[in-house]
Amino acid sequence: MKPDVTKDAAALETSAEVAERAELEQHAVEPLRHLFEVSRRDLFKLLGSGLIVGYCVRKGLTQESGRAVNRENESNDLASWLHIGEDGKVTVFTGKVEMGQNIRTSLTQQVAEELSVPMSAITLVMGDTDLTPFDMGTFGSRTTPQMGTRLRTVSANARGLLVEMAAKRWNVDPATLSVKDGMVVSQKAGKRISYGELTHGQKLVMVPEADPEPESPAKWRIAGTPASKVDGKAFVTGAHQYTSDMSRPGMMHGKVFRPPAFNSKLTSVDTKKAEQMAGVTVVHDGDFIGVVAGDPGLAQKALALVEVQTQAPPQVNDAGLFDYLRKDVDTETRGGSGGRGGNNAGSVEAGMASAAKTLSQSYTAAYIQHAPLEPRAAAAEWQDGKLTVWTGTQRPFAVKEELAAAFHISQDHVRVIVPDTGSAYGGKHTGECAVEAARLAKGAGKPVKLVWTREEEFTWAYFRPAGVIDVKSGIAADGKLVAWEYHNYNSGPAAIDTPYNVPNKKVEFHPAKNPPLRQGSYRGLAATANHFARESHMDELAQLAGMDPLQFRLKNITDPRLRAVFEKAAERFGWGKQKATRQRGFGIAGGFEKNGYLATCAEIAVDARGQVRIVRVVESFDCGAVVNPNGLRNQIEGAIVQGLGGAMVEAIHFADGRVLNGRFRDYHVPRFRDLPKIEVELIDRKDVPPAGAGETPLMGLAPAVAGAIFSATGIRLRGLPLMAKPLELKG
């Protein structure tokens, strides 16, 4: 594959990314695109002499042969990606952020591979808007396919230049040279020289205009192997500093007033008592009320003395949620006929009329919360009109824009730095905590850290959209799908289209006009709800056809990779070898999303009280060439456990604009006791470019479990979470 890195981000979008972007639009965070301008002098100042390899993001620059090596004062439409120092140390700059998905390690592997240097020689500078090139954000499983490809290309460029430099120095043909362990080697002449020596005392800037072919995955020696987390030790010693651990000279702590209900109006505010407390500053600006003190405890006490009267309008409760979502369709701007991506074919009416059997069912998914263990946190500091904010966000450049807009300052006066973060799962796209901390810091005239409480995180962070999905379908007498009509209300368009063969289909997404809760991205987006609905429905059709759920699916699949994951998972699981009993059931589900294929088998146990336990999960996953099998397995195991929460019990309950279960005591997330035995079967396709894998492995669990419950009890559950209440077992 020739990686196309000369076009801008929009041109790189696959259909999956189009869906991703649709999701972003849904919560109105469509990114602005701009070019980041870096001063190369600054980078040399920061890192010393050596070689900087940039990447030209100028629009209209097409692929041309050759490469240019320039001195310092070239055009500044350049984002710098890589620096090789005189000591041979490699520093890589990427706007992606690390939040547990382990890209610091997998990207390091890919640079090490292409440059042929030990991983220990490489440092990644990530998510710092002053130092790293612009990046839209870390979401959509795009780091591996996009950033990985880009860094491999940049590294391959650097390697090519270093070889050329050595060839010139030795006056030999570059084709006779190779690279190994940070050295250019001439086997023939018996010579070797380190990268550091080659660049010694120089300030070289390279702006490649052509992209060399990165090493084929089949030839990988460092990438493709199970690497350990590069900075793992910092986590087992407590040394790693998250945003919430930050300290700055003279730093104060903030707390922010939250009204008792969403959409509240403040009718009266009295901050006198809080202001009278020694060491406390009150910041009151419109509807924003916050306090700043030397320690969080004092800030909390001061906040408790702020007297506020509020008024909230009547609001939709979770009890009437799904009826509301069906009725509250935003027909003007999105969804409606055609929905997203033109997923229509043939005539559903004709298909239904020709069907031997038809089925119509509805499925639902509740609002859930990400509940990252590190809540939102930010440390903000103003200096000479310039604002620096450390915060755990997935979109540092978007947060920079948010801050610039909030304080009416130019973007070059804002710097956002993202320390490796205590997880996000799609829940940290936004900068509300950063803005609050910056407002408090401005008011106090001192650096301020703000760490949201668990209750704030459960209530004021955005939620994964709830949704209703209506499916109508028809099958022929031989079990082939002939009609498929699918309407998703509000949960989202990700993975909305069916991967099964069907000649007549209509697939539409209908976003709500006024969703009752603030909703946004979540790991995998609506792919979880859409897989739950589609795969549950496929199970029900299999039953209607009198076929085994696996055989029914295979009959309707052409894609060999989808077939392969189903067969692999079924084989490892022993699908069909054990008969379901009233106490034990088996289910299977799978699909395709973001260039990853998955199939999940689940075994469940049902007790006499109607409680269900997931006993064993086998998942087969194919995301192309595997960059780090260790990290990938960890991601898949984690996704299954996270999926288990939403599948079984997680649901936000709300009434009158209040979250009713905003604590870990009341909102059950998976714990040790919920853990099934998890087995992962990786399909490593060296012939296919690597895809991201942080999200898709989550999709199969809920429908597989629903199918397993049905196989044991005959009870078909069509709402997530499945175990909102115990099963009503008969006799």
């Binding site: 382990n102 010693t237 960890n634 040790f672």
Partner: protein, 155 residues
Amino acid sequence: MANITLLINGSERKVEAADDEPLLSVLRNRLGMTGTKYGCGVGQCGACTVLLDGKAVRSCRLTAATVKGKVVTIEGLAAEGNLQPIQQAFLEEEAFQCGYCTSGMVMAAHGLLSAVPKPSDDDIFDHMNGNICRCGTYQRIMAAIHRAAEKGGRA
């Protein structure tokens, strides 16, 4: 405010704190020991777990002024830079993703291994169920605990 003397990681630490201030806050905000994490503040997630006289406790639920006994935090676990077997085992199993729960997990597991040198899966469920890993690395954490137990528990 109260003047408190705490015995933390083998050192006597004198600190001024609010009368009702939790140990977690004193560690993090007054002593700069940020390895111990805030996750919920009400003892429902385990991120703030430390050892008190060898037993795993939630530092968010302890009022610092009332703490008597030896406190060990994640910063004090490795003796002279040598990782404890449980820390080594977490590394070898890579029993974390974002790492935010890891301090609490390691301290809770260390407490478990002190009491039960060769814990069963059920022992782990019983002892560790209060510690949340939202990234879902439980299977690896269990493997790490068994690995450390094999290697002689707390050494």
